[in-house]
Structure formats: structure tokens, C-alpha cells
Point group: D2
Chain length 304, copies 4
């Protein structure tokens, strides 16, 4: 399989998809990202990384960060975690309060906002400096030691994040938040502000395609069952209210973010990260989804 060739075909193939989505505009730092950006990086478990386009330019990873906070929490909290967050798809918008009220403050899964906020609370319980730990975890995974939070983004998220404040307060009012709302959301808004490139994110997720063992670091970062948990959660809950359609079109476990990034893995084979800021109505990168669909169609390999 010639991944380089396939990746090089993408810019021409994707041309028709540009201009048909919407760049997230709720904060200035996202709104001003040029809509025509496109980058992709694919790291094989055994072998090199492949790249195309703006693959080395950093972008706001937003909800993709939920993969890493959940990884950290699983390592520290164990099965206890699943008493406070569910593992099922929500059948709802990512920031809906409705289901949370009917289910008494237990978020449906760790990838909707309410669930990710509970995961932040768990990290605050177990780590002395969760922000630093999270940042260092990503530095280690990606091998890029200047990865950092974008403080402008974190500040903007805090200033406009009323629905997240509503979710966190609702969780607190239902007894599913141990720490102060402000502290929990400070961590949450910071995790959303992390800026990485496609290449960095692809390196940081390649262990998810390798049963938890990083081929770069040569060590086990997660157990096999933990990876299975992350991958199955990505497939059933990783792309907002479009997981069914995404599973069909792309056929890979994936986690997307409103910054236009999508991280996906083909277990046993590769991790892949695509970035294109225009979003489709479900909030997933429009050209990014099309690129992944092209990849699994041309290579003839998906999990199905």
C-alpha cells in the first residue's frame, strides 16, 4: 500500500469539499483560522509517518484532548471512573442538558462535554498539577517538548463557555463534581486550548493502534483493555451525533474537535490525524471526514 501516493492525491480530491462548511466562530482565535487549511499525517505502527499539506502547523485540538484526559484518568482511577460517567452514545448534541437531567447527573460518556468535565474533576482528585501533567503527557507522547496551552483560547473559552458552566454547575448540584466548578472548568478550558500539529497528534495516538505500546517510545503507555476501551468509545461516541454515519463512511474509531481536527486509528496498522477547519452540520471537519473516507476506501481497509 502506497500511503504517500494516497496522501498526495488528497488535495486535488478534496477541492470540491472546501467552501461548503463553517469555521467555528464562537471565539476569535478559532474564527480567524483560514478556512482553506488542510493537513494530514499518518503514522504506521511499524514504519514511517506520512504527511501532506499543513501537517506541521499547530491548531486548537479542542475535544480531541478528551482522549488524553480520559487516558490519564483511566490510569489513575480504575473502574471507579465508570460509576461517574457512562459508556453509551448519547443520541443528542454534545452539550445537551436534557439527558443529564433525566439520568441524574451521570453523563452518558466521557466524550460529551459533561462527561469530559467529570473527567477533569477526577484528574483534580488524583493529580497535584493536572494541567502540567496533561501538557507533559502530550509532550512525551508526541516528542515535541514545546507543546503548550494557547492562553488566548483558554481565556476565550472561559469567557464564552456559559453552557459548560451550566453543565458543570448542574453536575455539582447533582453531587457528581468534587472540586470547585471554577477549578474544574479551568482545567477543561485549558485542555481544549492545547495546540498540536497533525504530525504531533498522529505520533501522540499511534499507541492506540498498537495495543497501548508506543512504537516511538518503545514502552506500554496503556494496557490492551484500556486501548480497547478508548477505541470502542471513539467509535460509538467520538464524532458527536454523527457516529453512525462516520462509522459507515470512514470505518475507523475517531475523535473530532471543533478546531477542525480528527484523530483516527486503524488498530494494528496506523494512527491518522487530519485537519481542516470547516465543519459540517454535526460539528465534524467536512473535508477531514472526506479525506478519511477516501483513505479507507482507496486502501480497502477499515475495521468493518
Amino acid at each position: 500500500m502506497d500511503f504517500d501516493k494516497t496522501l498526495q492525491e488528497l488535495p486535488a480530491y478534496l477541492r470540491e469539499f472546501f467552501g461548503k462548511g463553517t469555521v467555528a466562530s464562537y471565539i476569535p482565535a478559532l474564527a480567524r483560522v483560514p478556512a482553506q487549511k488542510f493537513g494530514m499525517a499518518l503514522c504506521r505502527v511499524a514504519g514511517p509517518c506520512h504527511r501532506v499539506g499543513d501537517s506541521e502547523e499547530r491548531f486548537s485540538i479542542q475535544s480531541i484532548s478528551k482522549l488524553f484526559t480520559l487516558s490519564l484518568a483511566m490510569g489513575r482511577c480504575g473502574e471507579e471512573l465508570w460509576r461517574r460517567v457512562g459508556r453509551e452514545p448519547s443520541g443528542n448534541r454534545f452539550n445537551s442538558l436534557v439527558q443529564l437531567e433525566y439520568e441524574r447527573g451521570i453523563p452518558r460518556n466521557p466524550f460529551i462535554n459533561a462527561g469530559a468535565i467529570v473527567i477533569c474533576d477526577i484528574l483534580l482528585d488524583h493529580l497535584p498539577n493536572p494541567k502540567e501533567t496533561l501538557r507533559d503527557y502530550l509532550r512525551l507522547l508526541s516528542g515535541s517538548f514545546d507543546i503548550d496551552f494557547d492562553q488566548e483560547v483558554a481565556r476565550s473559552e472561559a469567557e464564552t463557555g456559559f453552557i459548560n458552566y451550566a453543565l458543570a454547575n448542574f453536575l455539582k448540584g447533582n453531587g457528581n463534581l468534587h472540586n470547585a466548578v471554577e477549578a474544574v472548568l479551568d482545567l477543561y478550558f485549558h485542555q481544549c486550548s492545547l495546540a498540536l500539529s497533525c504530525s504531533e497528534l498522529a505520533r501522540a495516538t499511534v499507541h492506540l493502534a498498537n495495543a497501548g505500546v508506543s512504537p516511538l517510545l518503545g514502552e506500554a503507555l496503556l494496557t490492551g483493555p484500556q486501548v480497547k476501551r478508548l477505541n470502542s468509545l471513539m467509535l460509538t461516541s467520538g464524532t458527536y451525533d454523527a457516529v453512525g454515519e462516520f462509522a459507515y463512511r470512514v470505518g475507523l474509531p475517531a475523535k473530532s474537535g471543533v478546531g477542525g481536527g480528527i484523530a483516527a486509528v486503524l488498530p494494528g496498522d496506523y494512527s491518522v490525524v487530519v485537519w481542516s477547519p470547516e465543519l459540517d452540520p454535526s460539528g465534524n471537519s467536512l473535508a477531514g471526514g472526506a479525506a478519511l473516507e477516501y483513505l479507507t476506501t482507496v486502501t480497502g481497509k477499515s475495521i468493518f
Copy 2:
């Protein structure tokens, strides 16, 4: 009609209702109120006030204050108000977020918490010192010039009011709050902390039984249509998710609070306020409801 006689019969009649409800315990100041307290005051439009029991002891009026903030807002905001708050019963708990999400941040009525929070926002828009104005309005209406906020209660409300923070942030995130969440809730928590006695509250509501004209002050405080609005809202939305049952049993427009107070009016005849801290499952004063039912049954006069 001998109101004095009827009121004197109440303590004996009500004996069986005590010990069967629950005193609100989410903040210490409410939890420590003795459960056996009972007071009632009835002010006739033309004539004297009648009293029984602990009618002169002040209690936390809580949601009954929504009557007075709405009165102030109607006077300042006009029909505009009803674009931001509905006028229909909610068919839900007083602090539900579900309907608010389905109806895009427009609370169903001004007596559920979300609606009252929007009313606070309106007061902040129109008044330089809304807290003082509200307090002075109640001083004027009741004729008691030492009425004040209970700062301990206000502080406790703020410390435990996560669901109200969730509601306010949700409203803000949906564009239905102009002022800062903290400022709006500061007013809201203070209005809930106002402490008045049955007699003071009965005097402060007697104009609602007299087409807006205070027989005590000799002046029109509200227009006829405004009073009709308040009374109809009390009947359809004033007693949480028990308005249908309350309308049947008592047959008077009424507004209750978790402090155990209920204010009611028989238009053209009297205002009446009862206080007994034990609440029934719907959050209304248990003995208070029974006392009002006794009153309208014995006198044979209700709105139906």
C-alpha cells in the same frame, strides 16, 4: 363571616397535619426553623386584618418574593417582558432544565426559577439599585420599615445554588441574560432571603385583592390588567407542579415558597398569608395548604 372565629379554629384543626411533611434543609437557616411553627394573617380589602398563631414572626419568604420582583418588572418593562419569559404552566419541577433547553432559553413562566432569574436580569437593566428598590418596595407595601434581607440566607443560597447557577448560565448561553451571571444571581439569592411575617406579607399583597389599589396606602400600585396578570399567573403557575390540585382544594391564586409560606388572594375580598415550615412532596407548605383549604371551605368562597 366571622374570620376571627375561623382562624382561631385552625390550630386545633391542623394538629393532624404536623409531623407529616419535611422542613427544607438545603441551607442551615431553613433547616433550623422549628417544624411546629404556624401563623396566618388575613387582610380584608375593606376592613381589619385577622391573625392567628405565629403571625408576627418573620420567616424566609423565598419564592413568594417572585411576586414582588415581577410586579416591579412589569411596571418598568411592559409587554417586552413577555418576549423573554412565557406565561404558561411548566408541567415540570420548578428547577428543571429540560424544558428550557427544548424551548431555547425562554422560561415557561416567571415563577419557575429560570423565569425569576430572567426577571432579575430585567430589574438590573432598569434599576440602578434593584436590591434596595426591592427591599424598599416591600417596606412600603407592608408598612414595616425594618424589613431586610437575611444575609446568612443569601450567602447560603449562593453557596449551595448550583442548579440556579446552571440555569443562569444556560440562559446566558442562550442569549436571554444581559447582565453578568454573578450579578443576576446575587439579586436572585437576596430576593429569596427577604424575611417578613404573615402580617407583613398579607399587608404587602392586599392590593392584589383590590384591583391594584392598596387600601392601606390609598393609592394604585398596579393597574387592573397587571393585577389580573399576577393573579392568573399565581393560579396557573404559583404552586410548583401542584397548581391543578391546589386550584381545586383551595381555589385561590397563590404563591408559595420553600420557607413554608403561602400568599393567596380572594379578589375583591382579602389577601391571606399562612406559614408552616413542613412541606409536602410538591414543595408547598403542608399545613399551610390545609389551612387555606379549610378557610375557603368554611367560608364557602373561592374563585370557583
Copy 3:
């Protein structure tokens, strides 16, 4: 008070309201009723009946019939009835299934469709020929012994009533229907098809303004508490999802139907029925509501 004069003023006053609503069109028999029809009849407890316009023309009373089936059921079933139907406003459309599912098959009140269907089931339990009994009850109340079901309407209701079939089957699946779905709905569709004139309906409801005693028949048809129950239910649940607004504008307990009729009472004074086929968005007669608002404003008398 010169009721005749007020009623005669109505046609001119209402002119501006015509052409702004929508005649119900889900069945042919309703769709072909001329939109400009208008009639009103008002029967005083002590005294004559007053009329204007098409007050003697029969129309499909539709949901107004729920008043009479509930009256019959209350007489036969007692308090038991309220274990199977609630008494609170629904805060939802009249035919919503959502609340019914969350509340496990107990309809919020007897005036939403699901509640009325349970009432039919109760009548089937207690009466050998509920259709005939209902028809005869209305003949007796109105003094018109040729009142009957409109079989074309009943048939059309059955043919198009899929949502009602859904409600009835859902109730059955939740154990809140004793009889066969078909039998229950046959009664329900027939009750909706009853055709009466404003005058006949006003006579048939005047006992609701007189503590249950019919001034026409000289006998008690309902007890005082039963009338209080009906009137309070009308006020809190009688006009679909517009009860709060209706209570404010009109200030009378009322029950409306999609045929364009509204029956209302001022306890102690009169019953009034208005008919005008064009409906407002909430499903209540547009000119009918305006006529009742005019009546209570001009006379200065409502329950508030």
C-alpha cells in the same frame, strides 16, 4: 349589566379578528365549515339566556365533550379516577406522547387526549351503553332531545386518528386501559363528534356556574366539590398550552375544542358558549377568545 347590549356589540368588535386564524382541516366535515361563522349564548344562573349570531346552529363540540365524559366518570368512579389520570397542566401539546412516557402511562389531566381516552375506558367499565348514556346526558342537560353524534365526523376521526391510536395503545401497553383499544377509541371518536349549538351547550353547562344545581332542571347534577374540580381543571388545563394566557385575558374557567367552540363559566353568575371556527396557533377559537375577553373586560367581572 346589560348582557344583550354587550352581545350585540360583538359582531362589529370582532370583525378584525376574522381571516387571521385557521379552520381545522384534518377531517372534511370540519374543513368545510364556513370560517365566518360566529355565535354566542350566555345563560345566567338566575335569569334568561342571551344570544347573538349563529347561536342556534350546531357545530362539532370536539374536546368540549371532555367536560361531560369527565362529569359522568366522576359520578361513577370517585377518587379512584385520580389514580389513573393526573390533575396538573401538561406544559405540552394536547397530544404529546413524551410526558406520557416519562410518567409511565398516567396522563397529566383528563383534558389532554390521553387523559380523555382513559376517561372513556372508565366509562366503559361502569356503563353498559356509554355512548347512549353520554348522548342522553347531553339531551337532558340541554333540553334538546334530538342532539346526536355526527356519524360522518366520528368515522373521519377514526380514519385519521393515528396519534390517538398511538396514545391509546401506549396507555394499553402501560396497563392504564382495561378495555380494548378499538372500543375505547370508538367511544372517544363519538364523543368528539357530538353536535350542539351555543345555546344548547350554554344550557348544558349552566349548572357549573351554580354549584352543580341546574336552574333549568331544578336539581343537583353534580356536588359542589365536583364542580370545583371541573372548574379548576378548566382553568389550569382547559385551553391546551395557552391556559396561562387565557386565564389572564379572559379570566374564566373554560374548555375549548378544535371545532371552534369554547364553553366558559363565571361561577355564581353565568355560563357562556362561543363558536367561531378559525383557530389561533394554540388551537383555541381566535374570535371566540376575543369575544370572551371583550365580555369580561366590558362587564368588569372575571374570577380574578
Copy 4:
């Protein structure tokens, strides 16, 4: 990989799971199935079938039939189908009406009851004898030409299926059913009553592990994209409100039924069907799920 050995280990391994679930009891034919039944059959794409326990005994396949009606509908209806049924997990019970109402009669996916009922309607539109076609399709796929409906089960389903009647009528009332409710449900209740053994079902699904080509028949029954659609739908919506947990534990696309059967596939490798009547709280076979988890754990092969 020695599949025979793994399958032979299962009865001992599963012993502890028996007696901890509940056999479906809403119809007599299911209630009387012995709880200790257990069978499994695994058909490799290239190679033999493996069996253990009661693998040749027929059971009521119930919702597993939704796989086959959807297969037939996809072949006849094309993309048009997805305008009438969604492709996303529901986040709700399989027979919930709530989401259906909020989403105006478009079921979330073809595996919840409402979605399967729409699929029946589509089959009635496109096939002269859909019941016979479905039965013959299964006969052909399985190679067992005496497969048939269990008329007792079909009749019982019809007699107790009030919630399904509610769903179908609600769909009809929302314009998403072309044929008569009775005709659609007759097909639906019959599809649920099909009785097959594990071996028969494993043979009938092995093409789903082989890109649509039946290794038994040597011909393409579905296109590659159609198989991808079915498998992705199974993974995201095939096991009621437990898809996330099932994806983690088992890691295979799967469809379960209340008869205690589960059909699953490992694309490129095998189909597997397990049967054990006791269900867990989510409605999936308890020992069946444990057996599949054992299989993918011991073999070390799942889609993740």
C-alpha cells in the same frame, strides 16, 4: 487458532453466568424456553463451521431479523431509505416514543422498533409478498429450506404488542408509513417470529464477514458498501442501549434479540451466533455476551 477448543471450553466457563438474568416473559412461547439452553456456532469465511451445545435447536430470532429486513430493503430502496430512517444510535430504550416525537417521526436507526417498522413499510412498498420473500431469503442464506415463521409467536406478538402499535400509529400520524398499520405490523410480528438455529443463523450471516459474498453460495448477496453499512449499524446500534459497553467487551458488530440470540461478525474472518435465553438488564443475552467476550479475548482478535 483452535476454534473448536475455545468453543468446547465455553460451557464450563459460562456456568457462573446462568441464573443471573431473566428470560423474556411477555409472551408464553418465549417464557417457556428453558433458561439453561446454550448454543453457539461460528462459520469461518474460508473453512468450516464450529459448534457447541444446543447449536442446532431453533429459537425465536426476534430482533436479529432486523438485519435481514434491512438487507432486503437496502437492495430495493437505495439511498431513499435513509430519508425515512436515521443511522445514529438512539441513546434510549429500543421502544421509546420520546425521541420519535422530538424528531418528528423519523426513527433514529433501523434497529430500534420504530425504525424496523418503517423498514417493513418499505418492503411492503417494493415486494408483492414480503413475508414469503423474507422467509425464502433466510432459507437461501442458511441452506435450510424448512425455516418458517412461528405462527404462535407471531400471534402472541400481535396480541401483546401495544407499544409497537403505538409506534406504528405514531409513524403513520407523522406521515412516515405508507401502508396500513395492520399490514405493516403483521409483517413486523412475523419477522420477529422466525425460528432458526445458531448454525442456520451463522450460515445466514457469514457473507457479512466476507464483503457481501457468501462463501457457501459463491455469489455476492450484498455490495461492499452495503455490508459496511450493516456492520457499522450493528456496532453503533445493534445491542440496544448497551452498544458502548458491548463494543468494549466484545469488540464485534452484533445484533441481539430478546429471544436470547446474538449474531456477530469479525469482518474478514467469521460470523458467530450464540443463544442463551437469560437476558441482562439491557435486554441482551447475558451468557451470550459473556461467551462472545470470551471468544474475542481468548483469540485476541476483535475489530479494535
